[in-house]
Subunit: 236 residues, 2 copies
């Protein structure tokens, strides 16, 4: 299958490598391919430059966001939450009619909010949108001809592509969206990734809860200790 | 142990009955005991009047919020989120120095928010406070001499008092708060309820995630079918 991954960060790389390993034709999208390849320093998250990573993963093509989307049947959005709507809107034509999986958390960093939590960030991030809207719904409104599916967001992407690394894979992945065929395509992809418990939460409004779970995910992560990987399982 | 339960709704009744069954001295608090006992019709949630319920549970005393708190060592807050801060503030003196477990979700019902979700409510509720504050933190600020612990909130209260009814009890309960002794007291109570996996999420700011999880809880509940009981387990 021809799959585009938009974004070159750590999460995007997890999907790119896994998809290539599964035999898919992977097209990676970035804002400015030349600028991405010219970088030689780690980014602010400490992720090594994409060019050197790409050198170790032959057969993967780097394009603009629009060109990558144009070449794919299914698109994974790894653009950060703050820039996603604008960047995806600029590629609306190439995304029309396609399934777009969104896993972004719409974090905003507000240094004016006093916060006592001893986070690695110092200040606890907040979300925008939150509660009465979600990033996934914003993307769907901006791209009415694209089939948006919210998924992957409740986990680290390294775990999303390797669910069996935790509890033998005995935990739950969630999907939400308006289009049943698109959700099935994402469910099939997740099954290929190794997931066995995939729960369809229904319409895209469920993305509010999935994105707002980021606070709970952070709290559990801090409680277990920084760097501990975990999942949650819905016990019926 | 002398335990007060503030509130007479379905969630409060689950705790009252369980605590009495465990041999604790239970004091129930309500805004106006005479008015509570005078009611003969089910409330808007369809819960039968408290007087008839109480008649089937001998040995349980009904007081004002302040009088119930005054008689207890540990207090469980079952007052709905919208009224909790005001009602608890009026009993600040009686709550001073005590552990207060809060399990409320600060739902607001806003009929002006257009919402496509086919919920039993018709319109999806939203939260206030949310994201940059929590009800538990508001209560703690209003009652600085009380040791507030957020707990129970990620589950139906019927499940909180009977965890083994789901998956043999193999799911996770969360606690958060500023005072280690208070969290230990709540953990001991949860252990008596039958919980074996109790995760301390740290300071009270973690209540934000616990309260915001309400959206995810609702979405999972709708996906599994109305009335299905479930829990979530943190898989390490």
């Amino acid at each position: 299958m021809k799959i585009a991954v938009l974004g070159t960060g750590g999460g995007a790389r997890a999907h790119i490598a896994k998809l290539a390993g599964l035999g898919h034709e992977v097209h990676v999208g970035t804002r400015d391919p030349e600028a991405t390849l010219a970088r030689t320093e780690p980014d602010m998250m400490g992720t090594p430059p994409f060019g050197s990573w790409l050198a170790g993963h032959p057969g993967i093509a780097l394009h603009t966001f629009a060109d990558a989307a144009d070449r794919a049947e299914l698109v994974i959005n790894g653009i950060d939450g703050r820039n996603a709507v604008a960047a995806l809107s600029a590629a609306a034509e190439q995304l029309a009619g396609k399934t777009l999986v969104d896993y972004a958390v719409p974090f905003i960093y507000n240094p004016e909010i006093e916060h006592p939590w001893p986070t690695p960030w110092g200040v606890m991030p907040t979300l925008d949108p939150c509660d009465s809207d979600s990033l996934a719904e914003q993307i769907q409104r901006a791209l009415p001809d694209t089939k948006v599916v919210k998924a992957f967001v409740t986990q680290e992407q390294a775990t999303v592509v390797d669910p069996k690394s935790i509890g033998g894979g005995e935990h739950t992945m969630f999907v939400a969206g308006e289009n049943a065929d698109a959700k099935q395509a994402v469910t099939d992809l997740l099954t290929a990734y190794g997931w066995s418990d995939i729960l369809d939460l229904g319409p895209l409004v469920a993305a509010r809860g999935m994105e707002m779970y980021a606070h709970m995910h952070s709290a559990i992560g801090f409680a277990l200790g920084f760097g501990t990987h975990f999942g949650i399982k819905v016990i019926r």
